[in-house]
């Protein structure tokens, strides 16, 4: 009898939520992802940083297959990422995504943006979906804007709605693809605060960003990418105070001066 729980543990006990194994991708002649191995544990906050064109956004987008890969495997919660069709859609519903350009549905109100996935994918009934949407909008601090259209909101408000829209699906993991890069400086903090709160609540997060302050304070691990490779992985303190690779030293010396 003792073998049963052991066997169970071996399956359910794996704490790895997202696993990328020797992932390769090309954009034409450009080898944008080169043998990427990355494992993200449940509840972990991983911040991906690196210079422009290093492949960090592409990496983020491969996790829910908005970008296909040429070789290698990606597992989410132990299941390999399906190539297409219904299976892929089901898996994407469990992976929340927040984009640099918000991508709120322009022809729908804020409330409709947050209820759409619940209604059409989760098949939640309307009253419940709206209740949840309003609670989430309240949580990200835009509850008074529920009946407006995205274009009537500021960038920071739009991005917080986008976070609420992703959270409404009860995702296992949240992907953030440069969520603050399109924002005015004074709006960056309101979005980062929501993300920090999310990290404290134990959400598994992959965050591609240039916000080093956020990486320092919220990340469990920093992944530094350059030229399509993961050059260095370390805890934030260690990475920022004592980077091992020359490429990372060079990168940090250019951004941390002022």
């Amino acid at each position: 009898m003792t073998e049963v729980p052991v066997a169970k543990d071996a399956v359910a006990g794996t704490n790895d939520l997202v696993v990328l194994k020797s992932v390769n991708k090309h954009f034409g002649a450009l080898h944008v992802l080169q043998d990427i191995d990355l494992t993200i544990a449940r509840g972990e906050v991983v911040v991906v940083i690196g210079p422009s064109g290093s492949g960090k956004s592409t990496l983020c987008r491969t996790v829910n297959r908005l970008e296909s890969v040429d070789s290698g495997s990606i597992l989410i919660d132990g299941k390999p990422l399906p190539a297409e069709g219904r299976e892929l859609a089901r898996l994407r519903a469990d992976v929340g995504m927040v984009f640099q350009s918000f991508n709120l549905f322009a022809h729908k109100t804020v409330l409709e943006n947050v209820t759409l996935g619940q209604l059409k994918v989760r098949k939640t009934d309307k009253a419940k979906a709206e209740e949840k949407a309003r609670a989430l909008l309240d949580r990200v601090g835009v509850s008074t804007q529920a009946d407006k259209y995205p274009a009537q909101l500021s960038g920071g408000q739009q991005q917080r709605v986008a976070i609420a829209r992703a959270l409404a699906m009860d995702p296992k993991v949240m992907l953030f693809d440069e969520p603050t890069s399109a924002l005015d400086p004074e709006m960056i903090n309101e979005v980062l605060e929501v993300m920090q709160q999310l990290a404290r609540d134990g959400m598994t997060m992959v965050v591609v960003t240039h916000e080093m302050g956020f990486a320092r304070s919220a990340a469990n691990r920093v992944v530094f990418m350059a030229d399509g490779r993961i050059v260095e992985e370390a805890a934030p303190d260690q990475f920022f105070s004592n980077p091992r690779s020359d490429r990372a030293k060079d990168f940090l010396s250019k951004i941390l001066h002022h």
């Binding site: 829910n64 908005l66 297409e84 069709g85 219904r86 859609a89 089901r90 898996l91 994407r92 519903a93 469990d94 992976v95 929340g96 995504m97 984009f99 350009s101 991508n103 709120l104 549905f105 322009a106 022809h107 759409l116 996935g117 059409k120 994918v121 259209y149 274009a151 009537q152 986008a162 829209r165 992703a166 699906m169």
Partner: protein, 222 residues
């Protein structure tokens, strides 16, 4: 002065024109939307079919298509569209079929240009939520695409209204057929053509104005 109008049912003829227009408009809107969906679908066979259909059918003169529905579909293949004994109804329905098949190409291409105005991020965000291709298309992309192409669709609708005159070629009793008959019987060429020209303007002008207003009102703000 207008006694040459006596004995002719001008309003009735224009009513047939209106019916041809409305039915063909609804038909081509539906068929054109399906074609546009096929042209952007991930299935190569669907894309290929829709592209071939549009490029063949829109390049055939409408007269040839309408005459084919009568001489080809009806006479050779015995397609009667549920009106085997009622000649008027049969040719009316065949004309609607021909107009729909033809106009759908232009609806499809207008819509496709509308789809291109929808930022790619809209579809990505929808896919990221777990929506399937058809849901992304019908819930997110097409509603925005339609609003972007109300103006071009008004052009298509106006062209369709005037194209219904081709149905005269297979004897559908619409405005142009009556005009031809009246010109032959009455020595009043200018007044008769003027009346029919005015009739079409009365039909198409409000269409353009109404859809122009709608297109501003429904424009998606980004």
């Amino acid at each position: 002065m207008f006694d040459f109008l006596e004995g002719y049912d001008v309003l009735g003829a224009f009513w047939t024109t209106v019916q041809l227009t409305l039915l063909s408009a609804v038909g081509s809107l539906i068929w054109g939307t399906i074609l546009a969906g096929m042209r952007v679908s991930p299935v190569p066979l669907m894309r290929g079919f829709a592209a071939a259909y549009v490029n063949v059918v829109r390049n055939i003169p409408l007269t040839v298509i309408i005459v084919f529905t009568s001489l080809g579909l009806a006479n050779i293949f015995s397609v009667t569209l549920g009106a085997a004994d009622d000649f008027d109804a049969k040719f009316f329905r065949l004309a609607v079929l021909g107009l729909t098949a033809y106009t759908a190409c232009f609806v499809c291409e207008s819509l496709r240009s509308g789809i291109n105005t929808v930022p790619v991020g809209q579809a990505e965000a929808a896919r990221a939520l777990g929506l399937g291709f058809t849901q992304v298309l019908t819930l997110i992309v097409l509603p925005q695409a339609f609003r972007a192409v109300i103006g071009p669709l008004a052009n298509v609708l106006i062209a369709l209204t005037k194209n219904t005159t081709v149905a005269a070629a297979i004897g559908v009793a619409e405005a142009a057929l009556l005009m031809k008959e009246m010109i032959e019987n009455e020595a009043q060429l200018l007044p008769i053509t003027a009346i029919f020209a005015l009739g079409f303007v009365v039909l198409t002008l409000p269409t353009g104005l109404l859809l122009g207003w709608l297109s501003k009102r429904l424009a998606v703000k980004r």
